[in-house]
Structures are given as C-alpha cells and as structure tokens.
Symmetry: D2
Subunit: 413 residues, 4 copies
C-alpha cells in the first residue's frame, strides 16, 4: 500500500476489512511520509483460512489501491459476454479512480475511467476500456474478480501552471460542508482557479439548474460564457426554458426579474417561450433569426460553446434541443465531459449526480447549493478535488463575476 | 364569479388585476356563503379604456374561474396549427382546473385536463381535449385568446362514500407546511382515507423515491402493494434498482438494512442487482424464474399492479423496464394516472413534479418529505386537496401500515 | 369590520369563527375598496343562542379588529390583581396590533403595545398600558374579557419621507419565503430603505448572530455601524465573543478569516478573547486602553451606539457586558427597541424571536437566514411590514454595504 | 502516542502540526493494533529550531493526547489569579477529554472535566479541578502552558453490564449524519440502551425542546418519565409552558393536539397556562392542588425527577420554576448532569449546546432533530459516543416507547 495512508484512512480500512473477512494480518513494514504532501507506504502480509477468503480480501484491498506483490500476481480474469447488455456475474464494477488491468503480464491503463462501469479488454489484448452494462456486446471480454487489477487513490488535482497549490489552500477548500463559512474566500479562490484554467486553454464545464435563473444568476452565467469561462454546458430542459423565458419575456417562472413581482399570466411564459423556439426550429435558428438576443444559451450559440439539455419526466415542451432519449443524453454528456479540468455544479442535483458518475478522479468539482444536504451528497466523493459551497447561487455568481472582472482588468493592465 | 371567493382570495385577485391592467370595476352584487363549505357569488362590472385591455382583463378573469355574462359571450377562437408541434402564438395554456370551451354556442368540457397543455377541438366541433405542444399536428384547431373559455376553481375533493368530510378535517389537513406538526394525526387521517378508497374500489397511485428504501420503508410499501392499497406505481430507475438490491442482496446503497452498517464492496450491489435482472430479461421474468422473491416490485408483479420506471440522466444500468425515452415515459405516466383518486408522493421530488403537472384538480395529493422546501413546492397547488407532510418517510410508512393493519383487523372482526 | 378584509382574509375568518362557535350571521352591507391600497368595510349582524356564546364571538371578532357598534358598546371590564405577578383568569392577552380600551366612555390607546402582555389601566383611568405578567402589582387593574376593546389591523408601514412606497414594492417584498428568489433585488430595496431611514434620522436596530462573524460579515456590519446605519445592537454573548475573537486574534471559532483554515489551538481563541476583555474590565475599557481596535463592538463603543448582550445557557465566560439576568436583559432589549423604525435580524433565531415579541406592528422587520424554516418562523407575523430573505448572510452584508457605499457616494456628489 | 491513532487521524494530525509549526519529526517506532478495538502506539522524536517552537509543538501534542517522555517531563506551571474572574494569559483551556496534571511529580486527574473551563490546583497540591473563568478567585493557582499536562482520547463508552458492545454496533451508530438512514434500527438500538441503563440503575438525562410537544411527543416523553427512563430533565421555559398548555388546555401553541386544528384564541393558551401556574405558586403546588394532572412535568413532580428550566430572551411569563439568572441556571444544569450515563437531546439546539459544553467525553449523547445541520453541530464532538438521528421527533418518541414497552413486557414475562 502506498499513498496518503493515514490522511485518507486507507490503511485503517484495509486492516479492518481483513479482520472482518476472517483473515489476520502482520504489518511487515510501515514508512510514514514526512510531510502531508509526501506519501507513506506499508507492506502487509495477509493470511486467511482459505484461498477463497484470501481472494476476497485481496480483491477488496486492490479496490482500496493496494499493489499485490508482483511475484505472486496473476493476469486479470476475463470472461466473455454471452447475452448482450449483461455482464458475467462477478464483473468488476469501476470507481472514479485510475485503474490498471494486468493482461498477458502487462499493466494496461483503463481508458474512459468512470464510476459504475465495467472494464472490457480488446481482442488483441492491448486496450482496456470502461464501458456500461448496456453497451456490452456478445463476445466482449469483461474483467471479473479482483486479480490483476490495481487502482491508485492519490490526490489527483492537476497543478496549475506546474505549480502545486499551497498547502493551506488544500486544507481550506477541503474543509467540511457548512453554511457557516466565509464564502467570499471561496469565491476568491474559485475565481482565481477559473482564471488560471481559462488562461492555459483548459476546459470548464458548467452544470446549472433553473434556480440560477430564478435567483438572478442568469446574467452572470451569460457573462461567464461570453468571457470564455465556459467550454461546455450541461443542463436540462428547465434551465433552457427559463433562460429563454427571461431572454424573451423578462421573467423567470412568471416573476419579473427586474421588479421581483409576479406578472399576471406569467406562469404561461415559459410555455410561450418554448413554443416560440419550437416555431423557429431550434435555439440556434432563433439566434440566427434575431429572435433570441440575450441570455445564457444565446451566448453559448454565439460563442460556439456546446451544450446538452437532458430530458426528464417533469419537462414541458420540450425545447427542440432537449434530448428526450436518455441513453443518447448520457452519451452526449459523457462526450462533452471528456478532458474537463473543472466542473462548476450550480444548484442542479439531478444533473450533477449524473455528471459525477461520469467523471474520473482528478477533475476539480465545485458544487454550489443553498441546501447543505445536496452539497454533502455531491461533494462527498472521498477525493481532495471536490469542494462544496453552501450559499445563495445568485449572489455567488454575482460576486464571482465581480472578482473575475477585476482579474481580467489586471490582465489587460 | 362563484366559488370560495374569499377563502381562496379569488375575488381580491380578480379586482386587483383589473386595476393593474388599467381597467376599473364596480361590484354589482356580492353574496357571501353562509358557511365555509358553501360558495359565494359576485357580479362585477368591468370597464376598460380599450377593447384590447378589456380582452386582456377578461382573459385573466376567465383563467381565475369567472363566468363571463353569456349574453355577451362569444365562441372560443380556434386557430389552426401550421407547423407540427408548434401552437399559434396566443394559445391558451391549461391549468389543473376543469375547463369548458364554447364552440358553436355550446360549452364543451375539456377532456384529459392537465397543466401546461393546449386545448384542441375536433373537426366535428364536438370534443375539446387537452394535448401537449409536441403532439400538435398541422391542421389541429387550437383554442387561442380567452373568449369562450371558462374554468371552475371549486374545491374538488371527491367525497368518500357520499359523505363530505367533516369541516375540521379540511382545516387540519390544509394547515401550512411545517416540521412542527403532529404527524401521528395526519397518519390517522391518511390511513382512514386510504382504507376508504380501497374499500370502494378506488385508485391509489404511489410515487416513491429511493429514500423510501434507504430509510427502511421498503417492506412497508411492499405491504401496501400486497394488501391492495396501491393500484399503480410511478418511479424512476433508482427506486427499482435499490428495491431489487434490497430483495436480492439485503442492502440499500450498500448499507445492510438489518444491521445498518455498510457492507464492504456494497456500493456495487445495486449494479449487480441490475445486471442480474438484465440477465433474466425483465423484472417479471425474474419473478417467474424464482430469482426475485420479495420487495416492492415483486409484490407489484405478483399482484398485477402496473408500474412505470422513468429514466433520468443519473441512471445506472438501466433496468430492462426503465423507460429511457422520456416522451414515452411521460405518456405511460399519464396513462396510469387516469382515474386516480389519491396520489401518495414519497420523497421523490423529480417524479412528483412530473406527476403534479399531469394531474387535474380534484385528486387528493399527499406529499411526504423530510425537507420542508420540497413539501412546500409539491403541495402548493392552491387547491384544498393537497396535503404536505414534513417527516421521516421510513417512520411514516411504518406507522401508516400499523394503522392500516388495525383498520383491516376491525374489518375482519 | 373595516380594513383589508379580503386581502388579509379577515372577513372570511370572522364569519368562520361565528359559525364554528355556534352563531349565525347576516352580511348587512359590504363595500369593497376599489384598489388594493384602499380599505373595504362590512357590517355584519351576528346572532347567537346565548349571551355567553355571543360574548365569545364578539370577543374574537374584536381581536380580529372588528368595531362593535358603539350604541351597544360597554366599557372594558377591569379586574384587580390579587396576587403579585398573576393576572385575573380571563385577562386580555395582547397582540402586536395597536389596541384601544374603552374606559369611562372614552377610547384610550394602549401604550407600549407588545405581544403576549396584559393591559392595565391607571387609577385615574387615563392611561392604558401594556405590561408583563411578572410586573403586575397587587391592586393593578387589568383588562379582562373582550368588551370595550378594539384593535386595528391595517398595514402599518410608515411611509418614507411622506411618500407611500409604490404598490409593486409591497407585492415584491411581501412575496413568500423561498431560496429561489433574486436576492440582489431585495438588497437594492433594503439598502434604499436603510439609506432613507438614516437620512431622516430614524432608528435602525440590528440583531446579529455569531454566524455573521463566521461567514465573514463582521467587517461589513462594522461598516454599517461606522457609517451611521445602526442605532442599537441586540445580541447574545456569542456574537460578542466571536467579534472580539476576530478583532483580537483574527479568527472566528478558531478559523482564520483571512485564510479560511483552522488555526491549531484556535478553538480556545474565543475564551482567550473573553479573558482578555474580562481583564480590561469591560469592552468599553478595552477600547479605551487601546487593546480593542476593530470590529463591530469596537465601532459601537466609538460611535456611542448602545448594545445589549443577553446571556444564555450555552455561554462561555461571559463577557463583562453580557447580561445574565434575563429579566433585566428583556428590559434592556425592550428599552432599546423603543421607537425603532427598522429591525434587521441577521441569522439569530433566538434573539430575533425575543425581539419580535417586544415589537409592535408597524415596524419594518427584515429577517435574513440561510434556513427557510427560520425565516418563515420569524417573518410570518401576518403583517405587511415583515420581509424574509433566505440567503447567505455573509454575502448579503457584502452586497448591502456595496450598495450603500454607492448611495453614499451619490449623496456626496 | 497511544490510542486509536489511525482510526481517529491522531497520528496524522500530530505529524502535520509538527511540520506546520516549523519542527521536523522521526517516527522511532510504530505499532499498529491488530484489530479495530485494540490500540496502536507510536514513539516519535520531535526536533525544533528553538525551545519556544518545541514548547508550542509539545503543547499541541499533549492536547492531542500524547504522553511526553516522563524522563524529560516537568511539573505543570501554575500561575496565580490576580483579578477575580480573570485567568492568567496563557491559561490552559479544557476539552471534554479526561486530563491529568503533573504536580510535584505526581499526575493528578482533573475533576469535573468539561469544555472551555480552566484547571486550578488546590493549595495542598492534591486536587486538580475544572472551573469556569467567572469562578476564579484571587490567589487560585491556574494551570498555564502545556507542560505537565496530558489527556487521553480513547473511546470512552462505558460498557453495558460489563460487556463491550459488538463491533458492528459502533460502526452503525457512528455512521454519518443523514436523513436517508433507517431510523427504525437506531430506535431499536437506543431503546435497548435505555433499557440497559435503567436496568442497572444508571442515569438518563433528557433535554427536550417545545417541538416535542408540537409534534405530539409529549405523551410519549411523559411515559418515559413515568416508567423510570428519565432521571433528570433539562429544558427551557418554552417546553414547560407548552407541556402545561397541553395538560391544562389540550393545545400546543394553540393547536388542538387531538384534532390538529388551530383553536380560535389559542395563541393565548400558553400565557393562560403560565398565569394559572403562577397563581398556584409553582408547578409542584399545581400538582398538589390537583390542578395539574398530566404531562411531562406532572410526571416529573410525581416521580421526584428533578428538572431545570433555563430562562432565555424569548420567554413569556416566565413560569415560577424558570431560572432567569443564567449563572445559576448553568450551575443547576451542571449539577444535574453529574454522573449522567446517557443524554437524550430532543429538538432543542440551544439547551443541547449548553449541555454538550458541560459534559465530559464518555457519556453517551443521542441527538434527535429533523434538521441535519443541527444534528451535525450537536453530535460532531469527535467522539465515538455521540449519535445523531435526523428524524421527526414525535414519531421517534412514538416508536421508542413502543419498543420500550415491548422490552418491559418481556422483562415481566
């Protein structure tokens, strides 16, 4: 075992599961890292009453990131798919952590790493790849059991411009979820990161919910798109409908966003907006025709920022762009998430959970919601690169764009 | 205007919108109902500076339920659809309230009433029907403007066995959303209603989220299905996956439901359960094959209770029964909701919002969630038949089945 | 009955209670106000089977604000206190609404109006005054029953500079409690009001909780004090301790407010701050001695803004200024609340409830908290002058001072 | 360092603070416990550039529970109090963990351990005792700095009847705070513990808020008192007032607890109840006089269970028993908490925080609230004996008494 053993509680869990499973252990060697950033290592000898128990323990240890002594290591066991869309019984379910599979004595890194997938190895035994249950074809060779599998649970945060962030920043951003924190500081840090990622041509994906519009964050998110801080946008029909409602009729769910009052008859506005866009043929065509002239999706169309609106059971309309086939919507989401450096989840639990499942460790996740339970659910991935912010998303975006505007001014100065 | 004018604030809103729109009014006549249950009526003369303004005011009044003096009333204006899936600009957006359309001098009741739809009238001008934007065909005649339209906003609660519920029950169930209420009393009342509806062969639809399983409510909901208290079940892939996980592996999200502890490797359990069912071909086949022998969906299959699992962007698998085409999922939901007497929404915001949009006024809605904001959102339909309960859904179902069990015992005694 | 009968549901409740109590009614006359701002009036004849029932109904009607026909009106019944601190059994419990008592044929306005008090009339029968149960002296004459009592439930918002606020502002500020509103607009409105109240020499009372410090709002609230936007501050030992901790050690609950990280040993900081101030003798002396040089209480001392810190069961220390005798603390709160025009409640439920009980209708209340349930509890007084804001209090204060700063710049330009 | 070093992250924090403070370390020896229950030990050599830095590091290590090599250990430094109620600057602030002080070469265990206190040593140097800042007398010798201080952070849960609870119970009860857990299981476990504690004559302290009454838990808590499951009750004026309101008038905050509806005029009921009790002289006298015949406090009086009602700024009345002098209220709380085995905190954040501060490690704390943020705040003491339950307190008590009733039946069978 190598890594942040104490920091992350890995060692403790490894030993615990050994005992729970009926095995016993001996710590042969334990080397503590001298500083928080450095890694520790431990060599542990595991004994078990039967090969089966040993196998089970070792499998779970591998899942925790243990490297089984190569002298005793075997290739991963591959079993063929006999029914399309169904894996062999003891298939390996993937995590968000980088994984390697031992095939013909070599360790193949798994491509397209994501959660809750399965790993298949190609016929030439050269490529291991994550896929989904439903995409399995008869004959695909699926990794089963836990032999010949290893994964690494190191902190994966990509350093910015080659510099590692200062230690205290980790501690700060990683502090627990609470509404009693100073959000101004988090906004400073996040704006600095967004600015850095944009500066080096990185990829920022935003996952906004309709509350962004209701709380007045629409214009601020539109600014982020316009200023190049958004490289892809993943949402649902609702954020689309209310962004368009605001752009076409000045309201959100019928509430006038300038006055804050309900407009009589306003509850129909989002339907009218959807109908207008349906009449144009698409959001892009509404921009072309000069009908749509502001808002988040307008800026996306103008800047060429790709977006996916995934359908749901609650959708009105839907908008022409809304993908109501959820198999396709998941594929399109996954496609746009490839290569993401930073994901900004803004008050959208459903879509953010979907995005979280598709995203490997090592991508910076920033989750903003006013409900602490939602933030806890989304940001609790056991990884250092997740940050939860319990706050008002409208004020958050207001402050974020103010800070980014100042950073931009400094740049041009 | 006739109805619970004061109770529901209708009169006040009607007069307010008149003034806001630039008109003025005179109350010709006002008759207050003598008791809460009886209705009041008011005759109001509206004047406006222009025909346009008058039209706007009258349109909004009709939406509030006003009956425009028939001597001056015209037929509804019908405009043809010129582009499939797109309504004429000034289409009438529907509400949950029963609506009638004046066609050729006759008032046609609107069928399939639901929220956020449009009304089309058939060629023979005999049937008016709610439909969705996306289902409009070229040539369909859509109701536009507000002339020749009337809707009724009376309390729509169907009385049970011909008896109207006692007054205090209304008051009680209709009290505001708060976590500081005595839920035992609500459970008593709800169990009594469920028992009555089942007794007279009524239709109860349940909309459960996966939290039902996590909080230990699974066995209680299974009991409800088994005892005939559920006539249809509407959920998502997650409630299915965790119900099956519990039935096949004894865990929910990897937590042992007998011990309350996390099972090592348990986070893969729902995937294994999904894979097992995929291998069987369907949930029904898993029951046939003797593989699935308990749980909510097992009871549904055995009792022949229909269910729909709607897909979403966050779904793993999915289960063979999960409908990933959301257009179809919405149709199947709407189909199973037809004729519902009572809908029990159990900690599932997404699916409950979908169900709420499809459900006309007059159906009893009971929304249970531990988050007051969710309950407020779901139960705030401005109608007397919605009840919000802020509580722990697992304990709620525990107590509910206890009470129903006692009512059943009395029946058989 | 006169007032906003429909708007506020008063008429409906009046009729309902009549029927519930066993009486019946006839509406003799009903005159609707033409606009929202104007009042309606209704004359209602109430019959009851017995004088006792009639008395009960009339009593409740009076509580709702009804004016009983003076031809039949009697003086209020006064009963003497026979045991210190104990009222006669059927004492009149007061509300926040302006009340008048008929004594010797004259209507005396009740002074020191507050909730949950009792009314006593002086010996000369010239002054009616609200007091508390515990302050009753033997011989005090207490108003009992409901005869000779009337109260007015009109919107009480004092107009600013003689101008009534525009209609839409009422509607806007009065909208329901939700985290899905545009707080920027509310901040604009509130900053405008604060600026007006300061401009005309009005009185603003702030009721802050320690979360203000934790979320970084301390420097912003200090700014408000410094710039003359606070005329009194009511809090507890905790806001004091953490304000002083921040001022003396740069942390809040041990979290460095510049870096956002926990300081090792920082959980003792608030105790050390308290000890330091105890050593100085008082907060004011710490300022004098040059030991305390920044923060909210520092600004209060420098500006001469009075403050009360009320003790509680959870207090450490306490600070020398903290009033641990809660009878005295309530008296000091009530004293500082006299004449308040606007009260800003900032994430402090306990102290805000206390303040709410002491505050008569007609004072603008603005309640800010991130928990919607708290905001609902505090702002739900049935009166138009209460505004609830569900948001992050740190960002709220940040934005508020930004806006006020701009208004101040305009003034000086 | 000895203890659950890995489990509790102690070792990691110890090393981190060394590096942060500018020191370096060498792990001389590390012995891992073989099982979760067994303890690990580590010998660490710390070097630092100056004696001052070393002192600081060692001080913090001691706070974490490290035992400094006795060969190099000195006596604790004692400094005299020179100003009543003020500690010397560098006083040692206490934690909830058992602490020992080295005086004249001997290690004295600290009596009356509590949080945020100071330690004084008597003249004969035989007794070390926790006290509060405000209780310091001139001449008292206060422990300062960190030399000669050690504390132990072992799991402190007293075993029940000599048996250590099974491992899985720890894991289960200790799982994170979430509303998505099976509360039935927690109730089973808690009822079993309450039954055990009562069985062996242990001490259970209940800290209830008024929400217990509003949610219908009053009769269940009264049952607990009657059946001997409560040895002391700590609350505020509000739980008292609403318990008495329910007992005397059948309502809670004016809501009829049998019907669930608001009683007209009911908002005055708690005041009337308070006035009635004030007239009797005290709650005990109201019982004597046959006026109070049911409810929680009635049962307390009848059973001789002591209770304290602490005053607060929001209190009406107050009740004769309510202690409005908070210095005394804290003393009375602390007195009744002495020797507690288990504390049940029921929806009362304010009083529960107070109780938490006064309670040393090793006492079982069970915190029930419907708001996850409150449960997190209360149960997050970093100690194994704290359990948070996010649920509806009324249903929780309903289920708890059902289970206890069954356990009692078994006993008598």
């Amino acid at each position: 075992l190598e890594g942040h053993l104490l920091d992350s509680g890995l060692l403790e869990r490894a030993l615990e599961l050994t005992v729970q499973s009926g095995g016993s252990f001996q710590v042969l060697h334990f080397k503590l890292g001298k500083q928080r950033q450095s890694t520790s290592s431990a060599a542990i000898k595991v004994s078990a009453p039967s090969g089966e128990v040993l196998d089970k323990i070792v499998g779970q240890m591998i899942e925790l990131g243990a490297v089984v002594d190569p002298r005793e290591e075997n290739d991963a066991e591959l079993k063929p798919v006999t029914q399309p869309g169904v894996a062999p019984d003891d298939f390996l379910a993937t995590t968000i952590y980088p994984t390697e599979i031992r095939v013909a004595g070599d360790w193949l890194p798994v491509r397209d790493q994501r959660m809750d997938g399965v790993v298949i190895v190609d016929e030439k035994r050269e490529v291991a790849r994550c896929t989904l249950l439903r995409e399995l074809q008869t004959g695909d060779r699926v990794v089963t059991g836990s032999q010949g599998v290893r994964s690494v649970r190191k902190p994966q945060l990509r350093t910015v411009r080659g510099r590692s962030p200062a230690e205290h920043e980790f501690a700060f951003m990683g502090a627990g979820v609470s509404s009693e924190r100073r959000v101004e500081l988090l906004v400073n840090q996040i704006s600095w990161e967004l600015h850095q990622v944009r500066g080096r041509g990185g990829k920022i994906v935003v996952v906004p919910g309709p509350v962004v519009i209701h709380t007045g964050g629409g214009e601020h998110l539109a600014w982020l798109v316009r200023e190049g801080y958004v490289q892809a946008l993943l949402g649902g029909n609702a954020i689309g409908a209310h962004d368009l409602e605001q752009a076409l009729m000045g309201t959100s769910l019928g509430v006038d966003l300038k006055l804050g009052t309900s407009v009589e008859g306003g509850h129909r506005h989002h339907l009218k907006a959807i109908n207008t866009i349906r009449g144009c043929g698409s959001i892009a065509k509404a921009v072309e025709q000069g009908i749509l002239t502001s808002g988040i999706l307008f800026e996306c169309v103008r800047k060429g920022v790709p977006f996916v609106l995934a359908g749901s059971i609650r959708d009105d309309g839907p908008l022409p762009e809304t993908q109501m086939d959820l198999i396709k919507a998941q594929q399109e989401y996954a496609w746009l998430l490839k290569g993401a450096d930073l994901i900004l989840m803004l008050s959208s639990m459903l879509h953010s959970i979907g995005v979280g499942n598709m995203t490997p460790a090592g991508v910076r996740l920033i989750c903003v919601d006013i409900n602490p339970a939602v933030v806890t659910k989304l940001s609790d991935r056991g990884s250092i690169e997740s940050v939860g912010v319990v706050t008002d998303v409208g004020l958050f975006l207001n402050l974020l764009t103010q800070r980014l505007g100042k950073l931009d001014q400094k740049d041009s100065a």
